[in-house]
Point group: C2
Chain length 215, copies 2
Amino acid sequence: MRSSSSGTEAMPRRQSIVDTAPARPARRAQADRTAGTRAALERATIDLLIERGWAAVTAIEVCNRAGVSRGAFHHHYTSLPQLLADALKRLYAEMRDEDRPPAADLGRLIDATWRHISSPRFKAVLEAWLAMANDSSLDSEIGPVVAEFSNLVSPANATTPTLADESDRALYLMARETLLGLALGRATNRGRPLGHEQTVLTQLRRIADHGIQAR
Amino acid sequence: MRSSSSGTEAMPRRQSIVDTAPARPARRAQADRTAGTRAALERATIDLLIERGWAAVTAIEVCNRAGVSRGAFHHHYTSLPQLLADALKRLYAEMRDEDRPPAADLGRLIDATWRHISSPRFKAVLEAWLAMANDSSLDSEIGPVVAEFSNLVSPANATTPTLADESDRALYLMARETLLGLALGRATNRGRPLGHEQTVLTQLRRIADHGIQAR
DNA sequence: TTACATACGTTCGTCTGTGTATGTATGTTT
DNA sequence: AAACATACATACACAGACGAACGTATGTAA
């Protein structure tokens, strides 16, 4: 519900100058309550998404976990997908804030990508991707947010100046898929790295560092 | 209901020799019906799993798609997870039957793995993996089947004689993760390959063919 | 302090899905 | 052809989840 304070839009006011400076410096406590419960709900949503998958994210479960009533939930969000969308937005914002300036070379770029992908929170992104592929009606509500995620960890990065070199670009694209494979392995292993993860990572790093040879 | 019925069969029969050779060569038609509807249900299950994901695989949907009644379904399977398990077993059998003798070199081994992973049906495996990670109670019913899948496309292959060489083994493990990343990309793209898939595949093949160099 | 807006709680009807009878038809055996 | 088993259908009872409607409490402005 937009806070377009009542009446303002329709009738011509005599002293409209007066409220041109609403400058409401108060309005804090309420806003804080709102921010608090919204944060609680959205965090509970993401946690649930990571721990038990998309289908388990039900309004009831989220509310229980966040410690708020279903009424409170419905006061802040019109529907469950709405909550999902906002929760993913928050997650995206958090992950992006941790982002560092663009990496200088291929190795560091891969490291940066791995930093994102290896986070436990990345499972939430996986779940969102799958959910969208499985139910196209979600596209309208959470599509835009998910698209932003793809930018965080995506071939779009592959156009950065760092990858001007064509073969570096191909190498990065490949590395990204490898890392996604590892993330998938973690996701299907309750977040724990698989046994061969280190082997794969060092192999990948070696390739990134030394390029390709004929043997 | 056990047929411990009225006396008749309890009495010693005069020509009991007659039924000592039951040798029922008939029993065809019924068996065919059974096989037919079971196949229909299991195929519908897999199709649904691929198209709309784990959560969408509901008994009602499966029955509608297979064109059988819910009663028929419950006649053949005690529960929905039971059907899922049998459907996955069938899928596994199909994929394994297409398997060829072990590849001779690293490149062919990667190709063979990619043949499995790039199949549209692989999305069903992905869904099963995620579902099991999200709901541990599924472990008892579909856990064993899913474990067999892991054998089809897994590091277990990495112990084949073909990969006696240690660096080949590491390379294969990495390649497998890369391919899984690509499969994930297809799954989240409604089965269509992503734009950079070919780039990644040729890059991967080049590495497998030529090894690593210092540049 | 009155008047209102916002935040939250509770109850309700509905829908979808599941498994359990119980009925009926079609094979199968003797 | 009678007796039985198997295959399938319909009806029912129940559980979980959703959104709407309505109630209450607590901040906020006049």
